[in-house]
Symmetry: C2
Subunit: 338 residues, 2 copies
């Protein structure tokens, strides 16, 4: 059950989450390192607190850490003594890397009450002034667990996501999450940045920029976001990003060699290799007619022992959790698989 | 003066161009290798011809070759004998590479009447059924010339673009065009394709695909377009794409090394290198308030001798031609420069 949610940090992600939850009738208490968003937040029905102690005194069922990752160790240290008096509160976060956050949570002695989370939502803006409940429209969350995660606490975070925010989730271990996030976000951010670096170094850059149309605009959009935020995200997932950048460099070098050799068979193969993703996208559009709500659903029994693996395997099949019939019966949405 | 325009090939680009010109009151005659679009095209006010000879008999001022590039040599060979009787007609095209097309045009003996063109417009669709006059909204064309290009023929193609289509243009030599197009389109198409190849080969691809949000969607959009069309485009500009792929591979490898070494100074430098492009985009948005029409304008005198260089230098400064006061006085739009 999630009646009260504590939000720490009213930036783009936390502010949007607080506004969305309040809009959907959840009691939201919030704390921000500076009180400048408080007047507007209070007008949106969010109860703003001047100290973390006051926030905890509101007895939140779940506290969502939406502070920047670099502030995480200090935040956890401030929270740890307060948690002693509120042992039933579950802590989660919205960070784009999960292994590092779990280590920090455990270093602060809060591992027992922690469930990781990462909403796949965001845009190129930042700060409370950009906060928008619609940021979470149709978003999918990764919820990260390990073998010690308490199932009831997982259910609380899952309820926050499905009932509270109205979103879907998949359950992963930290490593699977961090590698997959490197694949579809952290590494591509570096590639996008490398593209604008290449253009900036290009002698006829004004001509190239004038010719730039949809392809260039789309491929460099994320490189226009705050480069410090992107850099932090990449550095926090450095090992996985490094490995993928080397694989991408090899793919580009191989293609350069094939163009040099004029070997049409290899070039044809290069352009066909991504067909599984093309077919997946086509199947997804066809199956859902563009709307995630229209994908087929079924129930999944979650065992007491090994529930983490059961839910990870479900995610690997392309399924997402959209709710629970009872604590051991999840409702899952079936998506096309690659 | 451009009263009548001949369009060869009623696919996405040619069909959209024909519809746009007809809509704007230009007399359009068209030929397609198969007559299936003719009924709809005629209903849109386009005069469809069953042979190239009939199209030429309509005395078009400019003929725009919108056939696929691979059909270009055969098309030019068919056109060459007809052009003998219509020496005042100017030939142009819409191909995404310009050096190769000029060689083919000269091989067919049509170099004297040719001016190259490449509208920066398109989408992931193809064929007449996708033709849409709005495809050309606010598009910029590259017009390619060499030292032998006839200035009056250039003016006819420029009039077609500015008065006929209502677009802007910049003047380039073939090499400058093909290198710049490789920079902002052909090479990025390969990078986008390499991303979906990497995901398709990724063990947890269903999980990664589920987590994919705006960054991934935008960076892989062009990889979902017809891979054969992309492959043809890349192969036609192979030398330039090869060189840029090697430069990109080096940038990604260098970044991987820097992440490996944990050298924050180099990582910070990587994320700052593209600032000239970020500043250009910001200045462009600020200067135009999002609408190209609101950029400042001035006149540019075009000399009789060396006009190609004068217009190339104008393009290098970030300027675009939007019309002519008289044949030697161009109206140019001033854009922010990098």
């Amino acid at each position: 059950m999630v009646n009260t949610v504590g939000i720490i940090g009213l930036g783009l992600i936390g502010g949007s989450l607080a506004r969305r939850l309040a809009e959907r009738g959840i009691r939201v208490v919030a704390w921000n390192h500076r009180p400048h968003p408080y007047a507007q937040a209070e007008a949106d029905g969010i109860f703003c607190k001047s100290t973390l102690a006051e926030l905890m005194d509101a007895e939140p069922d779940v506290v969502v850490l939406c502070n920047p990752l670099k502030a995480m160790p200090a935040m956890l240290d401030s929270l740890a003594p307060l948690m002693v008096e509120h042992p039933r509160t579950t802590i989660t976060d919205v960070g784009s890397v999960k292994g590092m956050v779990r280590e920090q949570v455990e270093a602060a002695g809060l591992g027992e009450c922690y469930v990781g989370a990462h909403p796949m939502a965001g845009n190129e803006l930042s700060g409370w002034q950009a906060a928008d409940p619609h940021l979470y429209d149709d978003a999918l969350w990764a919820v990260t667990v390990d073998s010690a995660t308490n199932y009831q606490r997982f259910l609380d975070v899952a309820a926050l996501i499905t009932k509270g925010v109205g979103n879907r989730l998949i359950v992963l271990d930290d490593e699977t999450h961090d590698k997959a996030a490197a694949m579809i976000s952290h590494m591509p951010h570096v590639v996008s940045t490398a593209l604008i670096n290449e253009l900036s170094a290009y002698p006829d850059r004004n001509i190239a920029a004038a010719l730039a149309a949809g392809c260039w605009r789309d491929m460099t959009r994320v490189a226009l976001t705050d480069p410090n935020r992107t850099r932090a995200m990449v550095e926090e997932d450095a090992l996985n990003v490094e490995a993928l950048l080397r694989r991408m460099a090899k793919r580009l070098t191989d293609m350069a060699d094939q163009l040099h050799d004029g070997d049409e068979t290899d070039v044809i193969r290069f352009f066909a290799e991504g067909n599984p993703f093309r077919q997946y996208k086509s199947a997804l559009t066809h199956a859902s007619d563009g709307a995630a709500e229209s994908l087929p659903e079924r129930e999944l029994t979650v065992p007491e022992s090994g529930w983490q693996q059961t839910l990870l395997f479900s995610a690997r099949r392309g399924e997402a959790i959209i709710g629970f019939v009872n604590p051991r019966q999840a409702i899952i949405q079936l998506r096309p698989a690659m």
